[in-house]
């Protein structure tokens, strides 16, 4: 009966956590070489329950409660990958990936290139990341930049249940190692997920909300925050575009990079003094980029506060100095 129901209605409302769980399950069903490894992921189902029930259904050889050693988890995953498996390892918390840093950076990232492509490395390293859950130190970190600056790794973050469901399957199917960041504060966010749909590509930037005045780039848990900011701005007549970049830092973005997506230039308009959205007397078309909102940084902070109750609870964002003259200009031909 369940199967019939599923077939009849492939769309279900899932949390990000459940979507990951279902995505993992489907990947394991589709490919018998997928092996999950990590601390407490078997019987307990993971500290965030992302692997809940999978060991019961797939057995201890495919959902492995490992000894408590991150280098060991990732290092043995390398060996399993060499043998033809597709290991999906769970790092319990972002701050605990560093014992495995050596294996990830000197081995996982390099082996495909070092072996001229004869050693496959289809490893997924799942990391719950970011803050917002009121945890102690080491449990609310954003280590992605370390990995994004390492050639050979693909670094992605998901932000909603649909991306979580498809993204984890796409990461597992990817022949390259993927550092897969899960927004832990959003694990309980819900959305309808159509499990029969055609998924969006994982490694592609996406405009999640169109807008004309400012582009806000965000990934992972901050996509929702950016959307909330866009809402807040819309109430004031400003139009923000929210864009999720493709594996945001993987290639080391430089000025001029378009973050992996075909770049759609924002409409440039000459705005006269009569234009309610223009700054007084400013007749030049606005360039995209760091566009100060009217009212200065104070106003921006006020707006953000509305979108960030958690930040507000801690006393708001610290004041940021207004960019001084020449601060963003190249000096001696060097960007600073």
């Amino acid at each position: 009966m369940t199967a019939e129901l599923l077939e009849a209605s492939p769309t279900r409302t899932l949390t990000i956590g459940k979507a990951l769980n279902e995505g993992l399950r489907r990947a394991m069903e589709d490919d018998p070489t997928v092996v999950l490894m990590g601390e407490d992921i078997g019987r307990l189902g993971g500290v965030f329950r992302i692997t809940d029930g999978l060991q019961k259904d797939f057995g201890e050889a495919r959902v492995v409660d490992t000894p408590l050693a991150e280098a060991g988890i990732v290092g043995t995953a390398v060996g399993l990958a060499m043998r033809g498996y597709r290991p999906v390892v769970e790092i319990q918390f972002d701050g605990f990936v560093f014992p495995a840093y050596n294996q990830i950076v000197t081995q996982v990232a390099k082996l495909h290139a070092r072996s001229r492509g004869t050693v496959p490395m289809p490893i997924v390293i799942r990391i719950p990341f970011g803050g917002g859950i009121g945890a102690v130190e080491h449990h609310s970190e954003s280590p992605e930049a370390y990995f994004a600056h390492t050639p050979g790794l693909k670094v992605v973050a998901v932000s909603n249940p649909v991306d979580a469901y498809w993204g984890i399957q796409q990461a597992i199917a990817c022949p390259d190692p993927v550092v897969f960041l899960e927004p832990k504060r959003r694990y309980w966010d819900k959305a309808p997920v159509d499990t029969a749909a055609d998924p969006e590509p994982l490694f592609r930037a996406r405009v999640v909300r169109g807008g004309d005045d400012v582009t806000v780039l965000a990934y992972g848990p901050m996509v929702k925050t950016a959307l909330q900011a866009a809402e807040a701005a819309a109430e004031e007549g400003r139009s923000l575009e929210a864009r999720r970049p493709a594996h945001p830092l993987a290639a080391g973005p430089r000025p001029g990079d378009r973050l992996g997506a075909p770049y759609r230039p924002l409409r440039r308009r000459a705005r006269g003094a009569g234009d309610p959205r223009s700054r007084r007397g400013d007749r030049r078309p606005r360039d995209r980029g760091l566009l100060p909102l009217p009212g200065g940084p104070g106003a921006a902070r006020r707006r953000l506060r509305r979108a960030l109750p958690a930040v507000q609870a801690r006393g708001g964002l610290p004041p940021r100095p207004r960019p001084g003259p020449g601060r963003h200009r190249p000096r001696d031909g060097v960007l600073r």
Binding site: V35, A61, T66, P67, A69, A71, G72, V74, G75, T76, A77, V78, G79, L80, A81, M82, R83, G84, Y85, P87, P99, N102, Q103, T106, Q107, L111, H112, A113, R114, S115, R116, G117, T118, V119, P120, M121, P122, P151, G152, K154, C174, P175, D176, F203, A246, H247, A250, A251, D257, G260
Partner: protein, 387 residues
Amino acid sequence: MTAVRNEIEAETDRAGDDPGPLPGAGAPHLPQQPDLVQLLTPEGERLEHPEYPLEVSDAELRGFYRDMVLVRRWDAEATALQRQGELGIWASLLGQEAAQLGAGRALQDGDMAFPTYREHGVAWARGVDPLHVMSLFRGVDNGGWHPRERGFALYTIVIGAQCLHATGYAMGVQRDGAESAVLAFLGDGATSQGEVNEAMVFAASFAAPVVFFCQNNQYAISVPLERQSKVPLYRRAAGFGFPGVRVDGNDVLAVLAVTRAALRAAREGQGPTFIEAFTYRMGAHTTSDDPTRYRLAHEVEEWKLRDPIARLKAYLSRSGLADAAFFDGVEAEADELAGRIRRGTVEMPDPPPTAMFDGVHAEMTPPLAAQRAAFEAYQASFEGGAA
């Protein structure tokens, strides 16, 4: 192997009361430990060991001699090529030929070995072309052999990292239900690495079919063994819950017998073994090293008396298994090999600059493809076009 296991357990119990040798007692001038498995004395006398009966044909014995002479000749040629500027660096295996050939020849088809950077003898045993190894030390490639096809992983320079790969690979062998085993190579210094210890924890926990083959050549660059361990290395295994055994690493027959037994046990599902091959690094750590700063000449002289090739030659001659014509033939073959290695190395082309983009990903990302295209255009902008 079961008997060995019992013996090791008994040994481990003894180790419980006995705090082990004092610091310095494992120093290289005291190699004759009572618990050293030996089948061929330094004088070339064949011994029997109750736990390690060895069946080896006369042809195999001659084969070991040939292997060791050829590999030593390759090693000497590589050192010379480095001195002549044809290699960036070379890590010599001089003195460790028996440990490497004995272990390498114990492997069967379908087995997998995970080397460090010094296992040229194992590479030879696995049929890897020496020129592939030379390409790494010349800096034009990172090896170039196919690890799965050769049953020989790429060299690993990050100390100890390969022990985890070996263990994971062995966990894969287990899942496949295959009758294969995995041999992880490591040095005495590597035993201090966290990853090596994690590998032994994982291997024990999952009873993975992996054998840790530690060549205790007494030094990690300049640092002697006693800085790494206050107990003989093979005894560490007991703490992880599997047998450890010490073998005369300059005795190719003992190494073969001990490694075969350990690999067989692994294949039969008895889990890991730690082998300490007690040997000596006769040369410098690498061509960049100056061992006179940290060890005495007399130590090296003592170890010369335990040379792995000389003792096998003595045995072959004395027992009439090989004659002068055979030994001359091997010498001629060695010269020929050295010539081939020399020519091949010197003629090795440099890779094009764009090779650095090759294989970074199995599926290249658009930003990287764009970087590659930009770099190619830049290269092509020079007089004469792309390099």
